[in-house]
Structures are given as C-alpha cells and as structure tokens.
C-alpha cells in the first residue's frame, strides 16, 4: 500500500500544482469558457491514462504465463526508466518549481493564447498520469494484495489533490524542495525494488538464466507473513532469498541514485561525478540487457557428462503431452518433443517446482520434432504444453542428486511433531485419570472426563490412524466391529457410562484402553512427518468432522460430538498454520488468506455452541437442528476444498 501511496501522492502533487495554477489564472481572467475547456482537458487526460492502464492490464491477462512474465519485465523496466527521469528532473527543478510554472503561464497569457494554458494542463495531467499508470501497473504486478495497493494509490492522489488545492489557495506553505527530496529517496528504493523484481520476472520469462544462485539468506529479516516483511518486500523489493542477479541489479541502481538524490545541493556534484552516476545507471540497464540477451541465446542447458543420458519423449497432441516416463532418477536427460499432428499444440516445456521454465522447445510443426537436454535434480517437475486440452503433466525426478529441502518445510514439520507429541502426552495423562475413575466405579467423574480426554485423541487422529490396529481398538463404534466381544475402547465405555449409567464390567476395557493409549504414546515420538502429510492430515481431520461428527454417530451415547469436532479442528488448524509460511513464501498468499478466513468462519459458527456449564464445554449435540448441522457441514466443505490443494504446494 505504501509504495502505491507514494507514487500517487508524488505524481498527483505535480499534476495538481500545474492544474491549480492554470485554474487560478483563468478564474482571475473570468474566462469561463477556457476554464471549462481546461477541466474537460483534465478529464480527457485522466480518461486516456486509465484507458492505457486498462489496455496494458488486459493485454497482460490474456498472455500465456511466460509472455506475461516478459511483459511484466518490460513494464517494470519502463517504469524504472520513467521514475529515474522524473527523479532527475525534479532534482533540477524542485526548488523553483512553482515559480517556473507561473512564468510559463504568464507567458502563455501574454501571448493571448488561452488554449496554450488549457493544453498545458492537459499535457501535465497526461504526462503525470501515464507515468503513474505504467508505474502503478508495475507496482500492482509486484504486489500480493491489489486491493490495498489500489487503496494506496487512490489515497495518494486524493492527498495530492488536497495539497495542490492548498498550495493554490496559498494555505499550505510546503517546502517543496524538501518534499521532493524525501519522496525522491523513497522512490529510488521503490524503483530499485522494481529492478530486482523485473530481473526476477525476466528469469521466469526465460530471458535471464544467469546469476540464479542464492546470494544471501535474508529469511531471518524478511519473515514471510509478518507486517515488517510486507513493508520490506513491498517497498524495498527485498526477497527472503534473493538470487545474485537480483542483488546486483538492486545495488547497481540504488547506490548511485541515492547518492545523486541525497547529495547536498550547495556542494553540487562535480561534472565527472554526475557522469559517473549516469554511467552507473546506464551500466545497470546494460547489464540487465546483456543478461537477458545472454539468456536468449542460452536455451540449451547442456547435459553434464557422467552417467547415461536417458531420453524422455513428449508427444504433442491436441489432448496433451504426457511424458513417456513419469518418473526418472536424477541426472542428465534429453527431452524429445515430437508433434504427432496437432495444429494448436506446438510447444513443450519443463517447469520446476516453482513453476519456472527450465527447458523448452517451441514452434514444432506437425510431424516434426526437436530436443533439449537438462541435468535434473530430484524433485517435482511439470511437463507443460500450452493450448492442449490438458496442459500440465506431473514429472518426478528421484534419488541421487538429493532433494533440496526448504528450511521452512523443516520448521513446519517440527511444529507439527511437537504438537503431536505434546497431545499424545496429554492424552495419556488424561486417559490414566479417566480409566482410574472408571475402575473406581465413579460414574459421575468418568462421565465428566470422557469428552475432555477424547479431545486430545481427536486432535491427532490421523496420526493414530497410521498405526493400523490402534485406532480401531481405541475409537471403534459398535457398528465398526465384527462382533460385540471384540468391541473395545472409548465408545464401549461411553455406552456403559451414558446409557447404563454404570461402570459394571468396564474394568477390563479400561485396562485395555490405557494399554492402547500408552502404546500409542510410546510409538508416536518415533514418527517423522513430511509437509504434504501435514496438509493431507488436516484435510483428513476435516473429513472426520464431515463424516462422523456431523451425523452425531461418533458420540451417540454422550452427545459430546462437538468436543471431538473442536479437537479435529484444532489439529487441522495447527497443521495449516505450520505450513502457512511456506505457502506465503511460495506466493500462495491468497490461498493462505482464503483458508484462514474459512477456519475463522467455522470457528465462529462452532463458538455459538460453547457451554461453560457443561463438563465437555459444549452443548449436547442433540441441541443442533438439521439446519444447524447443514450449516456446519457447508462451512467445513468450504474450508476443506481449498485446504485440499495445499499438499501439492508444499511438496519438496
């Protein structure tokens, strides 16, 4: 929001200053026709700018991904060029800006040409507006939240118009020189960020392939999902793990420009220093261009020697381009792209897990073939053929070469492991107390503890289910087992407590339950987890809710289903929250936001059934009408649907 605010404010002040002065002259003259014409001109200019922005945006939307990345690169560089020009121009004229403008206006008046004034306002707004449009577009593309970016731009323009009006009325005496100097410094940083993001999109658009090694790890500073990270990435264009090309580009732009802008005016720069700065800026652009050109001629990532290069065939057809093998060991591989006769599908690409094209052949006419080679590391890749009925096919590389493990994934699984281990410990503790009450014949106490003990089981249910035999013997319902004799676990005791109001004959089931839970507790710390498991586990937990809690069949004697419901939800949310930084890191902010909002919606619905006077903390499930249950199911379905797409985003 801040970058777009600054852009809107800055450009807006310039434009409204000129319009304000022209308007003042014209109204002094009492020339209403010219005044009207001027406002019409301003409106036309604004409309033109909006039109240009819309066209650019529309063109961008329709392009295939790679071309889109390339257009974004071009737009970003154009924006950098414009803002650089503006900063330099402003630096020269900041001090006597208003004075100069008044002189021009007076000159126009003196020559008797009202239309010159009208034109001046028109072109002033048009020029600032076009700059704003191009610059904002680039900022929008770099922003993860277009709504707040739009708000920022609007606010900036509004404030600018107010300032302009204030200057016009003489009400606000702004130190224009200082104002422009400050905003110039901010803009340099914003533009440097744009250079970095342009180099990033240039890479994704396959223009730039050099300098892609990770330069530094800033993830300690830029923690995804935090406010400070939004500011740092949003304003300075800082990525958590920038690559060499991005860092070099950023520095080459920011350092000379900042020096130029912040250099004290009185000790003005020597000619040679000024030339050096210009040279630096030019060099930045040249380096970027050179990198890009180099990239264009460097489509063949040749296979490294060593090991037999295998060949994978991609046969293009209207339907798709399924690879001849879906999984290969790491190493050198040659892709042969052959067009079996499709007029519309003429391109085959390999994308890495981040969606970056790492190899491709295009414009392959029907009947022809072409090949390219890659040296592939283990991981998940995608074979893509634009315009086919099915455009994307999964492709896996396994084994040696080693999976690159994202440290954030390790953090996520560690959080989950701790959660599971802690809940297993709490479950054991409470099961001990619960089974002791059962064995002591204390029906009331056992009943009170039933739901609050199960809560900890429900939170980690998918993990418990991974031990094939333990879940049935702990959690089976009467209709899950072959005969009544083999029915053990919580629900066996539940029926005695809540239907028969007795613990008679339950001692052996209490012992068995405690033995099973102890075994579960002892085995759980041995388990390791992978990120997709967490995501799938979260979905399984919600399916548990939708399958058995909603119908009320889970706790059919005690009607404490809502407590189990909460347990499942706790587990699912913990797993998701652990993965959320990974999603944000991988530019799936929108997905993460959607899921968070839907968790909140479920929790809000559920909260209406909290009852502090009940031992379980929840209303009896009998209280819920059919309509209530339907509302809950729909909220769960709405949540589980996007959640089910998380696993594929967090694999490797």
């Amino acid at each position: 929001m801040l970058p777009t605010f600054v852009i809107g404010l800055r450009e807006g002040v310039e434009a409204s200053l000129i319009v304000g002065i022209v308007a003042a002259f014209l109204s002094q003259q009492g020339n209403r026709n010219a005044l009207r014409a001027m406002w019409a001109g301003v409106a036309l200019a604004v409309a033109l700018c909006v039109g240009v922005a819309l066209v650019l945006e529309a063109v961008n939307q329709d392009l295939p991904q790679r071309q889109q990345e390339r257009l974004e690169t071009v737009v970003a560089f154009a924006a950098v060029g414009m803002v650089t020009f503006m900063i330099v121009w402003m630096r020269r004229h900041a001090a006597n800006l208003a004075g100069e403008l008044q002189q021009t206006a007076a000159h126009a008046l003196a020559s008797g040409s009202m239309w010159a004034l009208v034109g001046m306002a028109f072109f002033a707004v048009l020029r600032e507006g076009l700059e704003t449009a191009v610059f904002l577009l680039a900022a929008f593309q770099a922003s993860s939240d277009p709504a707040s970016a739009g708000l920022g731009a609007t606010l900036g323009v509004v404030v600018a118009v107010i300032i302009g009006y204030g200057i016009y009325r003489g009400g606000i005496k702004l130190n224009l020189a200082r104002f422009f100097k400050f905003t110039s410094a901010v803009l340099v940083l914003v533009a440097a960020g744009l250079v970095a993001s342009a180099l990033h999109t240039a890479h994704e658009g396959a223009w730039l392939t050099s300098g892609q090694a990770q330069a530094i790890d800033l993830s300690w500073l830029v923690v995804p999902g935090t406010v400070s990270s939004s500011l740092l990435t949003g304003i300075l264009g800082l990525q958590p793990q920038p690559v060499v090309a991005e860092v070099v580009g950023w520095l080459l732009y920011a350092v000379p420009m900042l020096t130029f802008v912040l250099w004290p005016r009185r000790t003005s720069l020597s000619r040679s220093a000024g030339r050096a700065i210009k040279g630096g800026v030019a060099a930045t652009l040249l380096v970027a261009l050179a990198l890009g050109l180099a990239a264009c001629g460097d489509d063949d990532t040749s296979a490294s020697s060593g090991g037999d290069a295998r060949t994978i065939k991609l046969t293009l057809s209207d339907q798709g381009c399924a690879p001849s093998e879906k999984s290969i060991p790491a190493g050198a591989v040659t892709f042969v792209v052959e067009n079996s006769g499709s007029a519309k599908v003429t391109e085959g690409e390999i994308l890495d897990a981040k969606g970056v094209i790492i190899g491709e052949r295009e414009n392959i006419a029907p009947g022809l073939s072409a090949d390219f080679s890659l040296n592939m590391k283990a991981g998940d890749y995608t074979v893509q053929c634009p315009n086919a009925d099915t455009e994307r096919f999964a492709f896996k590389v396994t084994g040696a070469g080693g999976t690159e493990t994202d440290p954030k994934l390790a953090t996520a699984t560690a959080i989950w492991k701790q959660f599971v281990d802690e809940n297993a410990a709490e479950l054991l503790k409470r099961t001990k107390a619960f089974t002791a009450a059962v064995k002591a014949g204390d029906v009331a106490k056992a009943r009170d503890q039933f739901a609050t003990t199960r809560l900890y089981y429900e939170r980690i249910e998918p993990v418990a289910e991974s031990f094939g035999d333990l879940d049935p013997s702990i959690d089976a319902r009467v209709n899950d087992v072959a005969s009544g004799d083999t029915w053990t676990g919580f629900h066996r005791i539940e029926r005695a407590l809540f239907v028969k109001n007795s613990t008679a004959g339950m001692a052996k089931y209490a012992d068995k339950l405690l033995a099973d839970v102890t075994k579960l507790h002892d085995e759980i710390p041995e388990l390791g987890y992978q990120a997709p498991q967490l995501a799938n586990g979260a979905v399984e937990l919600l399916n548990e809710v939708a399958k058995s809690k909603i119908t009320g069949e889970e706790d059919r004697y005690s009607h404490t289903d809502l407590s189990d419901f909460q347990g499942n939800l706790d587990g699912a949310k913990t797993a998701f929250e652990a993965l959320k930084p990974v999603l944000v890191d991988r530019k799936k902010q929108k997905l993460a936001t959607t899921i968070s909002a839907r968790f909140a919606a479920v929790e809000k619905t559920l909260a209406t059934y909290r009852r502090s006077d009940e031992p379980s903390g929840w209303a009896s499930y009998k209280e819920l009408t059919k309509a209530d249950r339907r509302t809950l199911t729909q909220a769960i379905d709405a949540l589980a649907e996007p959640l089910s797409t998380v696993a594929s985003q967090v694999s490797t």
Partner: protein, 413 residues
C-alpha cells in the same frame, strides 16, 4: 473412429430423438449419426445463453444455490470461474486438470472424461436474493434489480416446500447424457465451495417440451403429448415478443436475457392411473394417443373453443388444461416451456411415487407465468392430479462474449 463404449451407445440411443425428427429415423447408419449428434456442441459464448432457445436435450441436471459470499467482487470472481469452467465443459473438455498432479485432488471430478459433450448447455441465472434479501441490499446491487424480478406471489394450487424452492443462483445443465449434465452441476458447485452452497437440486430424465420446430413433441408422465403449442425457439419474432428481454427494460444488463420460472409439479400418479381414458382426455383437452385436440383429428390441428359436441356442451370443456393454457384465452400471453420429467423415488409419508414434471419456462417477464398460473391454479381440471411442490424464479442474463463472463453487465463496476 474411436471404439464405442456401452455408455456412448446408451447416450446415443437417447440422442436418437433428434435424428428421428430430422431425418425420419433410418435404422441404417444410426450409430454414425448418433456419434455425430453426441459430439455436437452448442457454443457457450453468444448473444443469448444457450439452453433457452436452443433445441432441448434429453436430460436435465438443475442446481439452485444460496450465496454465502459477501461482496459483489466475490460474486464477480465466482462468475468468472464458472464461465471459464462452463465454457470448457460445453466443448466436451474437462473443467480443469483431470489428474496430473499426484499430490492434489484432480481439478475436474472426471466422470465425464470419456463422454462426448452431448450437446451440453449450461444456463446461469440470478434469483431475487442477489439484489435483496429480507430487505437487505447484500451486495450493493439493489439499484440494478430489474422491476420484473420479484419472488413469485402465493399462487393457487401450490403446496411449496421451502427446501425445494428459491435460491440466489441457478445452474441449468441440459445434455443428452445424464452423466454429462450431472458432471456440470457437480463441478460448478465444487468451484463455488465457500462462495455458495447448494440449496436444492433436481434431475430430469426426459424432456417433455419441443423447443424448435424440428423437434418431435414428447409425452409427459401422464402419457400425453405435452407442449404441442409451445413457442418455438427458432421463431425469432415470437422469442422477441414473449421470451427475450428487449431494449425497453431500464436495466440494460438484462437486454437479451430472459426470466426463468421453475415449478416442481408432482403428479399424483396413482390417482391419475385409475382415471378413465375419457376423463383423462377431458381433463387435458387432447386425445391421448394421437395428441390431437378434442376438436380436431391431428396433433397440430388448431384448438376450436367454440365447437360443441352432440350434447350441445362445449367439445373442449371450459376447464380443460389446454383451453385454459392457450394464449387465445389468455389475452395472447405465451411462454417458452422447457421442462423435464422427474422422479425422486417414493414419498416417505405415503409410499407413493414422487414423480412428475419439473416445469421450466422462459419469458420476458415472470408476470406472464403468474397470470397463467393464477388462472390454471384456480380452475384447471388437471389440478386434481397435480401439486406444485417447488418454485423458483431467476433473471437469466444475456450470454457472455469471449473474454467476458456471464453476468458481467450486472457486475461491471
């Protein structure tokens, strides 16, 4: 040619009706024709949404949804998503990736993968709730509500069930293959998860209306030819006069659209089946076997309201269904019917068949239907054998152009 699967043959048998109507139904070369019919597609993009004036297909899957989203922007997103998916499905292409990502649920649910498009049309409409619910302007769209779009007033002869009535959005999916139609509703519902929830659905297993002049009149579950005098979708003058919203509508986004009224009309089948042929024909006003009016000899003979029988009474009883429904006796009011026979198993309370007509009508203004139903519901002899159990009304916007989405006129900022 690809191998014919059993399903395709079944679907093709259903699609045969068109072949018969068009070419007289030669048995020879049937399979090839049917393959061609099954592979026929109706373009999704166009001036009007398909599924109104286009020839009616054999099967229906209908879904009415309640919106749970909270802003016009979210509604716009939903309609964009729906438009993309619907356009793909009507081409016979999966709504999304049908399964190339092992770690993600397939985007398309897959049950239509080996099937043809089967002339699938998907028609989307807005219920009154989009503009206002309980006096609340939910999405800031109240000012764009067309005058004509109101909840239907209480009408005679109805016994409506709330859970089979109303809805903020509707999806009418018609195809010659029931699985293709069901697949469309299922996938659009899935894409709407978190934005809208299903309120009710209805499957229709057989078309009861002919919508173009080349289509043969079908029989409804009472065994009568239904809709002989239906408006024809290819009669452009009639469509403009009775069905398609014209330039006079102040809400410009509805120009080229239409209003859909649906009524779930349960037939009291057991009672009907023990009614004598005479009584059945007097109730409807047509001969059962030939479909001709009681005052004529052939199906398409004009109705003669003045003719009298040997006993001096009107040959067409004053309360006969076709008489009361005819435009001639309704000041010229006519509607385009596009209904389907349905069955939903048995009525748990009585053990009787729950089956009948899922009536769908398109008109320029729902008041056309209201006017007709006021009259029919009050005096139609047929009322003894039917009961309206579900009801809904939707504003069906014009078709989307490529690059746009259904309803973009309404939601354009």
């Amino acid at each position: 040619m690809p191998n014919l699967t059993r399903r395709r043959l079944l679907g093709a048998a259903g699609g045969g009706a068109l072949g018969i109507a068009a070419g007289g139904g030669f048995a020879l070369g049937r399979t090839t024709d049917d393959e061609a019919v099954a592979a026929t597609t109706f373009p999704f993009y166009g001036e009007r949404q398909a599924g109104i004036t286009t020839p009616s297909q054999d099967r229906l899957a209908f879904g009415a949804l309640d919106l749970t989203l909270t802003s016009a922007a979210d509604l716009r997103d939903l309609l964009r998503t729906w438009t993309t998916a619907a356009e793909r499905m009507t081409r016979g292409v999966p709504a999304g990736d049908p399964g190339n990502e092992p770690l993600a649920p397939p985007e398309d649910t897959g049950e239509a993968l080996d099937l043809h498009a089967a002339r699938l049309t998907i028609t989307i409409g807005f219920g009154p709730g989009v503009f206002e619910r309980d006096g609340e302007d939910r999405f800031g769209l109240a000012s764009r509500r067309p005058q004509a779009l109101r909840e239907l007033p209480a009408l005679p002869g109805e016994d409506l069930e709330a859970e089979r009535s109303g809805g903020d959005l509707c999806v009418q999916a018609c195809a010659d293959d029931p699985q293709v139609a069901f697949h469309a509703v299922r996938n659009l519902t899935r894409l709407a998860r978190g934005a809208a929830t299903l309120r009710w659905t209805q499957l229709g297993f057989g078309r009861t209306s002919s919508v173009t002049s080349s289509q043969e009149t079908m029989r409804n579950l009472q065994g009568f030819k239904d809709g002989t005098k239906n408006l024809k979708g290819d009669d452009d003058d009639a469509m403009r006069k009775h069905v398609i919203v014209g330039a006079g509508e102040p809400q410009r986004w509805m120009h080229g659209g239409s209003y859909m009224v649906t009524r779930r009309i349960r037939m009291l089948i057991e009672a009907w089946d023990r009614t004598t042929l005479d009584d059945q024909e007097l109730t409807i006003g047509r001969r059962k076997l030939s479909g001709s009016p009681l005052t004529g000899t052939k199906e398409h003979d004009a109705l003669d309201f003045k003719a009298r029988g040997a006993d001096g009474k009107p040959a067409m009883p004053l309360n006969a269904h076709v008489r009361l429904a005819a435009p001639e006796t309704n000041g010229g009011v006519a509607i385009l019917r596009r209904g389907y026979s349905y069955t939903d198993g048995i009525d748990a309370a009585s053990g009787q068949l729950d089956a009948g007509l899922f009536f769908i009508a398109f008109q320029r203004d729902p008041r056309q239907f209201i006017e007709l139903q006021r009259r029919l519901g009050a005096t139609d002899a047929l009322n003894e054998y039917i009961r309206h159990t579900g009801s809904a009304v939707f504003a069906v916007p014009p078709g989307a152009v490529r690059g746009g989405y259904v309803g973009d006129g309404l939601l354009r900022a």
